[in-house]
Structure formats: structure tokens, C-alpha cells
Subunit: 340 residues, 2 copies
DNA sequence: ACGCTTTTTGCAACCGGGTGCAATCTGATA
DNA sequence: TATCAGATTGCACCCGGTTGCAAAAAGCGT
């Protein structure tokens, strides 16, 4: 009862089929679908008509085989629990698709076999590999070296290996801008809350922050270790700090490595009824940051631009290991101000 | 200065190369890498050795072309803002990879061209299409009909079209279980908070809930429209309800269509200092549900099982439009109890 | 109408590997 | 040692498209 008798092009329609119907050779069909090939308008029209009637769609495997270009890009993803990641994946796949590329998702979180995944992508002749917010361990770099000569791009994170391309937010610059903002507010005693130490981008952030302060003769008075990417971590870290330090000794402002920690910090201030006693700045501009109850001053990473640059490099087949840092945007709300 | 002179297998190593080095024909090489093909142990060994030395890796495009099986699965994804989605994507890609499949992500959210994306996947000869938490509009179903005969699976959602396979949580059963739980608590006046109406799975949930209550001679006293998947929505909806109804007239317990709404509802109770005055049950068991400040009683969808079933069907090339409903698990915490 | 330049088009070969079939090689049995 | 089944291997050809080359057709000036 399931026999579909509709004349829909259920099975394979090949170029030869179209050729037969259009009364030309299959090569002419191929040329019709090749940009800038030489085909007479008349032939093209007949081919197009026949193709439409038959519902012809070129087999992309075959095309990839001969053209040595598949228009598939491997997206290597780790840490599948970071909510930012979804936005990254969304933006990347979206832009890739609109430029005619397809994304192959390679999950290398936890128990998955990293080597197998990357090798498999290579065997599929992907046109490039984008590491999405992945912290590239040496092990991965080594793997990546063994594959074909294609663009390897670390997006949204940093990677010091000279053979890997990087497209990322200019953390150093961001750090300086935030330092400048806080100094402008008149703060002298300024602190920094780190996330997990392992993430190399953030180091540059702190460096820039430090240098920005140094220009005005200031130093980072206090470095708090925030730890994981969780509100509770920011909360506990600041809470403990507030407990141990009398108000006069505390820093007046705190730059947190990401919004989640910053929001946790704000929660801690709130809990102790000390909202407004310390300027807080975050990083990322996540959705909650805009909520009026936080009004978090933060720094927005130029997501679309970053992705766009990465995609551009892939489509240019640019495998040269350059590094591209894009400036983000300071989002000024209220949390960096002290009200008392 | 960038000339890589290392003897690494930078370029293409084909089966013929391996054959030459191993002193056999390329067909023997092919057979060596084919499960269950007839190759003498001696030949196999020599091929394997040569392959290893040369760093040979079969070209999967070529293989896919002849075998008519690519081991690529298209993951069609919509609503890239739903955080549940990330867990779904993670589980799916992970399981696919461990079974030797690769995932091609097709983003059909917002401005992306749905038709183009799905058609492209088809042209790449994917072995199946999984719609991840996508609400399958008719338009999509129609598109899907036009492609090759491969499994089309809607995962984590429902779809009434008889030509599409469904692998999803048994919402009807869940609804009944929750009804039973609430009745067991002694409640008589029981309500339901909906999410967005458009999502068809949830209808079954309400049906089951309704039937479960009916068995004990009860009905759903109140249907609150929660709206979007946002805490604020659950919050506002319940707040408004509490404002308009005097305690004696209120429902004693409320089953919310998802945890986000349920948590919003708990927030509303908390805000009014009426925690414990109403039993609340959610659905999904998101991370926050376990937090002691909510202790949300909820229903966990069997994510891994669902994914596993979908992957199984793909690998069996089972394109028959069956529908598979998996029971989830009631997670009993405290929020369904009344304390006063 | 004629020679000459451009297009257009057909063909063979190829991308990298897989399959059916027949030829060849085992080696165990008679 | 001859015989024959079964395992192994080579070969031609296929998958579905693309490309370089040369032949055929069309355009053009005179």
C-alpha cells in the first residue's frame, strides 16, 4: 500500500538522462551547470527544461570527486555544554549555507574519538576545518597537521600554534578599553576575576587590562579566581571576597572574564544588599546582561564579523596561518557605575 | 619559508599507490578495506603495512559514489535559540559518530532557505535525515517527500504526517503518570499551563493528563496559557492568576508544559511568599530543576534512548513510516507537594 | 561564395574506489 | 599424481560527474 506511484523523481536522474531528453550529450548538460562554460543559449534552455521536468539534481559526491572541492566545511566542536556555542554554531552554519557551503559537525567532546572524527572529515575531503570555540590542545594541533592542505581556523578562541589560523576577538584591545572605562569612572583600586585558567584568549584579555591600567600608573589590585563558567562560581567567589575584606580595603571595580561570572558577582552584591558598592563589568553580552535587573556593562564579541571572516578564508582557500583579531564593542549599561 | 619538506603524506595517496608499494593490484587493496571480502592473510598484511607507511586513507566521496551509502546523516535544525537543542545535537552527533556516521548540520532557522538546505543534503546522498526538535510544517513535509528514499525521522517532537517517522517521548503516557501523581497527593482541583500551542507533541501530553484525571472523575480545572519558552512567561502567567483568584478558588496543583515555565511559576509563588501553597510539576528535567532552591518535580525525556533509536533506524535504512514512543521517567522532588 | 576566426559540441579519459565474473592458485582427497 | 572444490586475484566496467582536446558548426568580412 505504500507503493508510491506518483511520477516523482524518486530514484536517480543522472546527467545522461537529462541529455537524452534534451537531445544533447551529457557533457553539454554538465556544462550547462558549470559557471562560465561555453554552451549555446538554445542548448542551455533545452537542458534546463529537461532537467526541470525530470527533477534532475547533480550528485555532489561525484562533482566533489572531480572538482576536488566539496563545499563541505568541518565544524569541530568541544564543550557541548557552553550555551554560547549554540549561537556560534547557528551563525556559522547560517553564513556557510548562504554562501553555498554545508557544515559537517564533528563532536569531540568527552568520550568521542578526536582522531577518528578529524580524520573522517579529512577523508570526506572537507574544504576546511573550523574549530568553534575549541581550546586546541597540542594533541589536536598535531592531528590537524596530518591532514590535507586546507584552511584550519580557530574561531572565537586563541591558539598559539603558528600553523593554525586564528579568527578571534581582540582580547588585548578589549582589556584596554575596559581599563580605560573604569579609570574614567574614577576608580583607583581595580580587580579582575578570571575564568578557567586554561583558556588562552583570556590571558590576552588580562594583559590588555593590565597594560591599560599601567598607562595610568595603576595595577590590577586583586585577581579573583572565578573558576567554571557558572553563576554560582562568580557568586561564591565574590561572596567570599566580600566576607574577608572590609569595605575600605576592597577593590572599587571588578572586571569579570565573562558575563556569567559577572552576573554571579552581581547576585552576591544583591544578596548582601550592597548593590552599587562596586563597579562590575562583564564580557560577552549574553542575553541576560541586558535585563534591567542586571544592566550589565559588558563587551560584545563581533560574532557575525568573526564568522564572516572565517567563512571568507575558507572560500578563498586561504590556508596561510595568519591571525585575524577583530575589535568588539563596549556595551555601556549601569553595572560599572557605583551609586554609593 | 613555508615549504613543508617533511615527508608527510600531504597530498593524495590512492589505493593504486598502496597497491604498487605492496605489490598487489588496487582491487586487492580495496578488498582489504572491505568487511568480509576474500583476501589472503599474507596479502592483507602487506597491504596494511604499505597503507600505514603511506598514510593511506580511502576517499570517502569515491566510496560513497559506488556503494550508494555515504554514512552522512543530515541533522535538520530549527529554533537555534532553544538551549535544549544543544543537548540534543550533542547526543545525536555523539552517537552517530560512535557508530561511524557523520552529521551534516542543516540550519533552517529564520532567513535560511529551507528548500535549498534540504535539497543540498539530498544531493550529497545523505543516508537519512533527522529533524531535531523541529516542528515540521507542511511545507517541510512536502520538501522531504521529494527526496530520495531514505529514513526521515522527527526526533523529540511529534509530526502527524503519515509518511514521516517519529521517535519521541510518549507524551500521553507522561501526562497520565503526572495526573496519577497529583491525584495521589490528594489534589482535586488541578490545572495545566501550556507552552506555545503550535507544538503538537504537547497536545498529547495534555490529552494524557486529561484522561488520567478523568479516570478518577476529575477534570482539568484551569488551562493557563504560558506562552513562550521563557521564565518570565511562566512567572507572569501565574502571577496574574494568583492576583485574580482568591486562594480558595485556585487550583491546588499545576502541571506546566516545560520546566522553564514551571520555574517561572515557582518564582512567582516565591515572590508572593506563597511557596508551598501550590503543587508544581514541570517537564524536561533541565539542569536548574535539580537545584535545591527549586527541587522541581518533573519528567525526564529519555534523550539517549530516543537518539539511539533514531540512529538505529538510520543504520538499518529503515524508511518505513513507523512511530516510536519511548516512555520517560518521572523525577520526584519536592515542588509537587504542598506544605500548607 | 570562400577562407578564417570563434563558438559549440562530442569524445576519451579521469576522479578514486567498488563489484561481478572468470582466471589462477591453493591444497586436500582419491 | 591427477582431480576438483574453494579461496584468491586480476580485469573490465561502473558510480556520476568534469576536463582537455579536436572536430564540427556558426559567424563574419570581403
Amino acid at each position: 500500500m505504500n507503493k508510491n506511484s506518483k511520477p516523482q523523481a524518486n530514484q536517480k536522474v543522472t546527467a545522461s538522462d537529462v541529455a537524452a531528453k534534451a537531445g544533447v550529450s551529457k557533457w553539454t548538460v554538465s556544462r550547462t551547470f558549470t559557471e562560465g562554460a561555453s554552451v549555446s543559449p538554445r542548448a542551455r534552455e533545452r537542458v534546463l527544461k529537461a532537467a526541470a521536468e525530470l527533477g534532475y539534481r547533480p550528485n555532489l559526491l561525484a562533482r566533489g570527486l572531480t572538482k576536488r572541492q566539496t563545499h563541505i566545511v568541518g565544524l569541530v566542536v568541544d564543550e557541548m555544554d557552553n550555551p554560547n556555542l549554540l549561537a556560534l554554531i547557528n551563525a556559522t552554519t547560517s553564513q556557510l549555507q548562504s554562501r553555498g557551503y554545508l557544515s559537517m559537525l564533528l563532536n569531540i567532546s568527552s568520550e568521542n574519538d578526536h582522531g577518528a572524527a578529524i580524520s573522517l572529515a579529512d577523508q570526506f575531503q572537507v574544504d576546511g576545518l573550523i574549530f568553534l570555540g575549541t581550546v586546541l590542545r597540542d594533541e589536536l594541533v598535531e592531528l590537524a597537521q596530518q591532514i590535507r592542505h586546507i584552511p584550519l581556523i580557530v574561531l572565537y578562541r586563541n591558539c598559539m600554534d603558528p600553523n593554525i589560523q586564528v579568527v578571534s576577538t581582540d582580547g588585548y584591545r578589549a582589556g584596554r578599553e575596559i581599563a580605560a572605562l573604569l579609570i574614567e569612572q574614577g576608580y583607583r583600586r581595580i580587580g579582575y576575576m578570571t575564568g578557567l585558567i586554561s583558556e588562552s584568549t583570556q590571558l590576552r584579555r588580562l594583559e590588555g587590562f593590565r597594560d591599560g591600567l599601567a598607562e595610568h600608573g595603576l595595577a590590577v589590585e586583586e585577581i579573583l579566581e572565578g573558576g567554571h563558567y557558572q553563576r554560582a562560581c562568580g557568586y561564591r567567589t565574590l561572596e567570599r571576597y566580600l566576607e574577608t575584606m572590609v569595605p575600605a580595603e576592597r577593590v572599587e571595580a571588578l572586571f569579570c572574564e565573562n558575563d556569567i561570572l559577572a552576573i554571579g558577582a552581581l547576585d552576591a552584591l544583591h544578596k548582601r544588599g550592597e548593590v552599587g558598592s562596586m563597579g562590575i563589568v562583564g564580557f560577552d553580552d549574553i542575553e541576560e546582561a541586558a535585563s534591567p535587573s542586571y544592566a550589565l556593562t559588558t563587551y560584545r564579541q563581533p560574532l557575525e564579523q568573526l564568522v564572516s571572516e572565517a567563512v571568507r578564508r575558507i572560500s578563498l582557500r586561504d590556508a596561510a596561518p595568519r591571525r585575524h583579531l577583530v575589535p568588539g564593542e563596549l556595551i555601556i549599561r549601569d553595572s560599572h557605575r557605583r551609586t554609593h
